[in-house]
């Protein structure tokens, strides 16, 4: 039996779907509500009262700003590195044939399949062996390992759908390598790169495990939140930050989703 477009789903299925969605999203809503609670030591339900004072408190806490700024800088630099390396790697793997191509393609994707704790321990011992002190750049390096994969995956999929003779056509019409990249390659992969970049940014922004091993004493937003949960005072500040983090990561991911969806249509129309 095949379900037709007009056919209505049975009631039981509807309820099950609704429960599933609630289960996934209700806890997040709870986090938001606790951001407005008047009780600061522990989370009690229902909140004894509602207040917006925690937004002001959060605004005036320098440790929040430090963590936020570190996270944004790390995410931005990791994404930038990933965009350059991921695109170059995708171009090499999809446009040329060379010895070990499949192996390289696998090795590039591996970091995202590997548990974060393995990547983290590996990087930490590598840093220790090489006598590299923890710094901003050690965090960036750790994040770049999985950001490259996200960009690479997006770019390689787009490259595969882009006709190889288009690049030859551009050269044939008098464009050198740089002009070909600027006028033909980039416009065709731009949405894929934007989507990959946004996903990479979001991944880096809320990464905990690899960061714990590569940050030393520095605190990114997720690490700061973990520490904060142990402290007994001003707990709703964590929730305010959580709300901001959700918005900061959700918007790019949504945008990335819409961009790649449109990208399919653009790439398909060329065939």
């Amino acid at each position: 039996m095949r379900s037709d477009r007009g056919q209505r789903a049975p009631l039981g299925l509807k309820i099950a779907a609704a429960c599933g969605l609630l289960f996934l999203h209700l806890p997040i809503l709870l986090i938001f509500i606790y951001a407005f609670t008047t009780e600061e030591k522990s989370f009690v339900w229902p909140p004894p009262g509602l207040t917006t004072q925690w937004f002001a408190v959060t605004w005036n806490r320098p440790d929040v700003w430090d963590a936020l700024s570190l996270s944004v800088r790390v995410a931005a630099i990791s994404t930038a590195i990933a965009l350059v390396l991921g695109t170059l790697c995708a171009a090499a793997v999809s446009q040329t044939r060379f010895f070990g191509r499949e192996t390289i393609s696998l090795l590039v994707i591996l970091p995202i399949a590997l548990p974060g704790i393995i990547t983290g321990i590996a990087l930490r011992s590598a840093f220790a062996l090489a006598d590299i002190p923890f710094s901003f750049w050690t965090i960036v390096l750790g994040h770049a390992t999985f950001c490259v994969v996200v960009v690479y995956n997006n770019a390689v999929a787009r490259f595969r759908r882009t006709s190889g003779s288009m690049i030859e056509a551009s050269m044939d019409l008098g464009a050198d390598s740089f002009q070909t990249f600027r006028h033909v390659v980039l416009p065709n992969i731009a949405t894929a790169l934007l989507a990959g970049g946004m996903l990479a940014f979001a991944l880096s922004f809320d990464e905990v495990i690899v960061t714990t091993f590569t940050a030393g004493q520095q605190q990114t937003v997720p690490i700061w939140m973990l520490e904060e949960l142990i402290r007994p005072r001003q707990r709703p500040v964590t929730n305010v930050v959580a709300m901001v983090v959700v918005l900061v990561t959700l918007l790019p991911i949504l945008l990335a989703y819409y961009l790649t969806r449109d990208g399919d249509q653009i790439a398909g129309s060329g065939k």
Partner: protein
């Protein structure tokens, strides 16, 4: 006179594969030149050598007297119409056509005007605002043609230009390409595996096999006077006759070629001719193709539609004009 394209002992080897092997070739300016051959025969590699997408392993190539080895595609005054057209999906038709002028730094107004003219030339005026995805296969091909011609190339390369079109469209485009080439006077080099296309459009044809040129000549030369068994068989599926057979009719011990349409088939059982048996008929519309067995030698004859035919399996007598038996150079 300087050749438009000149190959001197050009080879292109990919590892142990000899895609193009010691090819000599002279294409005259203003010529409509066809490279004909089965797939993998090296014709497309030759085209890519002229375009600059491939560099020769050995030998030298010159285009209008200028050495071409080491010159990248974007510095050659040669343009290509690709088999899959390779239009840019993110640009509209007008910007696609104007692309070559854009990268050369021609001003916007000027290049769009030139692009509009090129579109009129290929009979697509007013299509500039559309996206390549909104065009039919035939229209896309015209856009690809306009995009190449707008750069006023000295040589236009066409890679199986009509391969993706249906029969009717293909016939129209053949005539159109031919008249376009006459009007523009540009040297056209086109690659095809379709012998009918090569014969009907080209001034001269080069027949490729295994990375080598088997024969170069006018369509009549190639068709009527093939010099090897391969050419005879590939171009127009000629009957290739073994030396023993040829000796009986011409006195010379050489391989021979006999066009299927030169064979007359009669139901007579005695008299002058080659005794054979009809083993199959193949109705082709305007003609009928007969498969014949002459004492173990498989021959084909093509007779006009409406000819009274003997039944399959019957004995027939084959006759042909001695002049139409062509003796090939290939050693027996």
């Amino acid at each position: 006179m300087t050749s438009a394209v000149s190959f001197k002992q050009v080879s292109r080897h990919f590892g142990s594969v000899r895609a193009v092997d010691a090819v000599d070739l002279e294409i005259a300016p203003g010529e409509f030149f066809a490279m004909l051959g089965p797939s993998g025969s090296g014709k497309t590699t030759c085209l890519r050598l002229i375009a600059g997408f491939e560099q020769p392993t050995a030998g030298s190539i010159s285009i209008f007297g200028d050495r071409a080895e080491g010159v990248p595609p974007y510095r050659r005054n040669v343009n290509t119409v690709f088999q899959d057209y390779a239009l840019f999906p993110h640009l509209n038709v007008l910007d696609n056509v104007a692309y070559g002028l854009m990268v050369k730094g021609v001003g916007k107004a000027e290049r769009l005007k030139a692009a509009e003219e090129a579109l009129s030339l290929v009979r697509l005026p007013g299509y500039g605002a559309r996206r390549p995805g909104q065009l039919s296969g035939g229209q896309r091909q015209r856009v690809a043609l306009a995009r190449a011609l707008v750069n006023q190339p000295k040589v236009l390369l066409l890679d199986e230009p009509l391969g993706a079109l249906d029969l009717k469209l293909r016939e129209n485009m053949q005539e159109e390409l031919k008249s376009l080439q006459k009007v523009l006077g540009i040297t056209f080099v086109f690659v095809t595996h379709d012998q009918g296309e090569a014969l009907s459009m080209a001034d001269r044809v080069a027949v490729f096999n295994d990375g080598r040129i088997m024969q170069v000549g006018t369509p009549e030369d190639i068709y009527q006077r093939p010099n090897t068994r391969f050419v005879a068989d590939f171009v127009g599926s000629s009957n290739v006759l073994p030396p023993d057979f040829v000796q009986r009719y011409s006195g010379q011990r050489r391989w021979g070629s006999l066009r299927p349409e030169s064979i007359r088939v009669s139901s007579a059982t005695s008299g002058d001719g080659v005794a054979a048996r009809l083993v199959g008929t193949n109705y082709l519309g305007a003609t009928t193709r007969l498969a014949l067995d002459a004492d173990g030698l498989r021959l084909h004859a093509v007779v006009p539609a409406g000819t009274a035919l003997p039944a399959e399996g019957e004995a027939v007598m084959l006759t042909f004009n001695r002049d139409s038996l062509h003796l090939m150079d290939e050693p027996a």
